[in-house]
């Protein structure tokens, strides 16, 4: 064999091997090695089981400790005193209606004249799997348990110390007393933190047991749970019978398999093929690619979440109000919304997102993109340029990196040198809540759809029970107006107060609001019924 023939054979073999290896690697990465799950998901999607794919799993399913949207999956195992109402939504679905709260475990309730004492009359006949009745004693001990953890903030609608007493004068009556009236408190008692648990069963277990188990009497029971992989829920017959007797919605799906898939490519592939009946958490780009796909329906729902950029007031150059104002004119909002968010959002500039009750569209008009105005304001601010700013973003968040790169390129012309720092999730959260960031892009919104609740932690100078707000903004006059708005029971008065807060907020340009996010849910054609909640109540989900 000559050298030349041997060498060309070697080259061809090497090239073939390399190409095969590269192809295998691309497919391995693209599918995230979930072939086995995909197979079972396809068969489940076509059988009686509802398949739900979500991009992130819960950190805990203990009602006392749930904070994120993903954690609140756990609310499906429990009942609560109140529940959110619903209204018609897009593509034949329904969506949450925070303006209408409905009794759930409570049959009825009355409020005293001062609006500080709420007396609930409970429905009867529901029992935990242990046989213990779901009664006033269970409500009292569950709420008292949640008051010992992060759940207390939600239970009190963001006014720590407001819930002064929880009593159960008899088995069917619960009395909750507030220190000050709060027109939105009923939302607090619809939160996952207000879930009613079997206290006796929980006490027998280790402290962290409830993070991965459930002791509820709600519409579903937990069949199996592999954290960050899969959760299987089955309809609870005792709840179904009780709900039917009481004219309440029951669980429509007999079995739900929830897969936690953090690969966007895998989520997209499964949504496309109809392997999942409901897909939540797909990137906007992937959702946009499904617009012309006839096998799916895309539901879009308003949220209270915004893509925003923090401008911490204790750090240069954000200490300077004029500089802050200038920088808010240097953002191509419309292009970001259409090219990066693919149109799934709404532009506004104000303290309250459009979904909130006291949002004023006229006063919250989006800030225009005007580089000349930005330059003028920055030059007249007194801050000498060039100025160096470190922008912190969350690792793996494509939207954050795209926005950061865009601003980096654009702001160079204004003398603002952005250095983009990417941090792993735990470090990113730690840096933000430790007030260590000079600026950061943040995707955030309240779990309670209430203006007072939101501004109570996002705008108030001193956030009771937590410390400072994350942007370190301080508008004392707006704080005082907020206190009045939270106490007032007159909607007109409240609207007027929130209008004044909006004006003050805008005048201070405290942060950049890129857009208000619109939630996108991809539904297979087989999905018959779906209701979007900001905290997923799966009772109405079925195919």
């Amino acid at each position: 064999m000559t050298v030349r023939r041997r060498s060309s054979r070697q080259v061809v073999s090497a090239a073939v091997l390399l190409a095969a290896g590269a192809t295998a690697a691309v497919f391995a990465f693209a599918t995230n090695g979930s072939a086995a799950r995909r197979g079972s998901a396809v068969s489940n999607a076509t059988s009686g089981t509802l398949v739900v794919n979500i991009n992130t799993g819960p950190a805990t399913i203990d009602p006392r400790d749930m904070t994120s949207f993903f954690d609140t999956l756990g609310l499906n195992f429990y009942v609560r005193l109140m529940a959110y109402g619903t209204k018609r939504g897009p593509v034949g679905t329904r969506q949450v209606d925070a303006q209408h709260m409905t009794p759930y475990l409570a049959r009825s309730f009355r409020v005293d004249k001062a609006r500080k004492v709420y007396t609930f009359k409970l429905r009867t006949g529901l029992r935990f799997p242990s046989g213990v009745p779901v009664d006033a004693r269970a409500v009292k001990c569950s709420l008292e348990r949640s008051m010992t953890g992060i759940g207390s903030y939600f239970l009190q609608d963001g006014i720590p110390g407001n819930l002064t007493s929880i009593t159960a004068p008899n088995r069917t009556t619960v009395v909750l007393k507030l220190k000050q009236p709060d027109p939105s408190i009923l939302q607090g008692w619809a939160q996952p933190a207000a879930s009613i648990i079997d206290c006796a069963a929980e006490k027998k277990q280790a402290k962290t047991w409830l993070a991965t188990h459930e002791v509820g009497a709600g519409p579903f029971r937990l069949v199996s749970y592999q954290p960050n992989r899969q959760m299987v829920l089955a309809a609870r017959p005792s709840f179904t019978a009780w709900a039917r007797r009481n004219g309440l919605p029951t669980a429509r799906a007999s079995r739900i398999v929830v897969n936690f898939i953090n690969s966007d490519s895998t989520l997209l592939l499964q949504a496309r093929r109809g392997a999942a009946n409901v897909t939540i958490g797909l990137s906007k780009r992937s959702v946009a690619s499904l617009r012309s796909n006839n096998n799916v329906k895309i539901g879009t729902y308003p949220t209270t979440i915004q893509e925003q950029m923090l401008l911490p007031w204790d750090k240069a150059p954000w200490k300077n109000k004029r500089f802050r104002e200038g920088i808010t004119y240097a953002v191509p909002y419309q292009q970001i919304l259409s090219r990066i968010a693919y149109g799934y959002g709404k532009l506004y500039f104000g303290p309250l997102p459009p979904l909130m009750q006291f949002y004023n569209a006229k006063l919250s008009k989006p800030r225009p993109f005007n580089l000349n105005r930005a330059r003028q304001l920055i030059q007249s601010s007194g801050v000498s340029t060039p100025v160096n700013v470190t922008l912190t973003i969350d690792e793996g968040n494509t939207v954050h990196s795209q926005i950061a790169t865009l601003l980096q390129s654009l702001w160079k012309t204004l003398g603002v040198n952005l250095n983009v720092q990417t941090l792993a999730p735990a470090d990113y959260t730690g840096a933000m809540f430790g007030f260590k960031v000079q600026s950061a892009i943040r995707y955030d919104g309240p779990g309670v759809i209430d203006a007072g609740y939101y501004l109570g932690y996002d705008m108030r100078t001193n956030v009771v029970g937590i410390g400072k707000n994350i942007n370190l903004m301080s508008i004392p006059a707006a704080d005082r107006l907020l206190d009045r708005a939270r106490r007032s029971l007159n909607p007109k008065t409240r609207q007027s107060l929130y209008n004044r807060i909006t004006t003050m907020w805008r005048a201070n340009s405290p942060k950049i609001v890129f857009y208000n996010d619109v939630a996108t849910v991809v539904l297979s054609r087989a999905t018959r019924s779906f209701t979007y909640y900001h905290e997923p109540d799966m009772r109405s989900w079925s195919k």
Partner: protein, 303 residues
């Protein structure tokens, strides 16, 4: 004074140098007669051209964002298309080539210098010093190379600089071991003995008589290390530990491209992937041939 040993030393050295020169000429002639090697050389040359001159001749700024031109497929205006925020992929490819090939060269040079020095010193000194150096090299070799590079990057902060340092660290033991074994081999040759007998100092013998014999070993190893370095930096960039926003390194471009593969934007990740494939394959072929070419007893002597 005896003339024999000195003359023998000089003749042997001259013979070795002449052999080396002849081998080099043969190598040049061989490139032209070996299609695979010729292709590899041309490909690498093209990548070097794009890296050095590409963006001088091309009109687009690799970091210029244009939200009106997002996700454009390849065309005359943008030969490799545009990415999700409208940046020209061809311009970024060229800059990525510059980064990858430069870092490859830096890793090769510094790895060879440091690793070579460690190997030479260990081989020259022997005894406890040799043991100390080689056990240290063994401890570095105990870690999978990429894991060690990741650990360095995570420990000292993510970025291209720390990623490069991490990759250099992983190449040092290979150079050290190779050079040490070559030093031990050459040290036992008669001309070295002769020089020692004549009273030449150890350092002088190392520099004048032994180190030149390590050249071919270093060159062959360097060709292999170059390909590894380019791939390692891309791998670190792929997992977010290497180049940071907005640096257009091939690995980070592949990561960005992965997000767009299923939604139609295949060009964002494919072109840097092809660049990586070509660079690594070309250097692997050159490394493979270099070993044969520089082997004085090899088949390529007939050229």
């Amino acid at each position: 004074m005896e003339a024999g040993p000195i003359a023998a030393t000089q003749v042997q050295r001259t013979r070795v140098l002449a052999d080396w020169a002849r081998a080099t000429v043969r190598a040049a002639r061989f490139v032209l007669h070996d299609p695979a090697l010729l292709t590899a050389t041309v490909v690498l040359g093209l990548l070097l051209f794009l890296a050095i001159v590409g963006n001088v001749l091309w009109h687009e700024d690799p970091n210029a964002v244009d939200l009106n031109q997002t996700l454009q497929p390849p065309s005359a205006e943008h030969p490799m298309g545009t990415d999700s925020i409208g940046r020209d992929v061809f311009a970024r490819f060229n800059e990525g080539a510059q980064i990858s090939l430069t870092i490859g060269a830096i890793v090769v040079v510094l790895g060879a210098l440091i690793g070579g020095a460690v190997g030479v010193i260990a081989g020259a000194l022997g005894g406890w010093a040799d043991n100390a150096f080689m056990r240290t090299m063994d401890s570095l070799l105990a870690f999978p190379p990429l894991i060690l590079a990741m650990a360095v990057t995570v420990g000292f902060g993510v970025g291209l600089k720390t990623a490069t340092i991490g990759v250099i660290l992983t190449t040092i033991p290979y150079y050290a071991r190779l050079c040490r074994s070559d030093v031990l081999r050459v040290r036992s040759l008669s001309f070295v003995e002769a020089a020692t007998a004549l009273g030449a100092r150890r350092g002088w013998i190392m520099l004048r008589h032994i180190v030149p014999h390590l050249t071919s070993t270093l060159l062959i190893q360097s060709a292999a290390v170059f390909g590894y370095a380019v791939l390692a930096i891309a791998a670190l960039g792929f997992v977010g530990l290497g180049a940071q926003i907005p640096t257009p390194e091939w690995g980070t471009m592949i990561t960005e491209g992965l997000d767009n593969v299923l939604t139609g934007g295949w060009w964002i990740g494919v072109f840097p992937g092809i660049g990586l494939l070509l660079a690594v394959t070309a250097t692997s072929i050159i490394a493979d041939r270099a070993r044969d070419i520089f082997d004085p007893r090899g088949a390529y002597l007939r050229f």
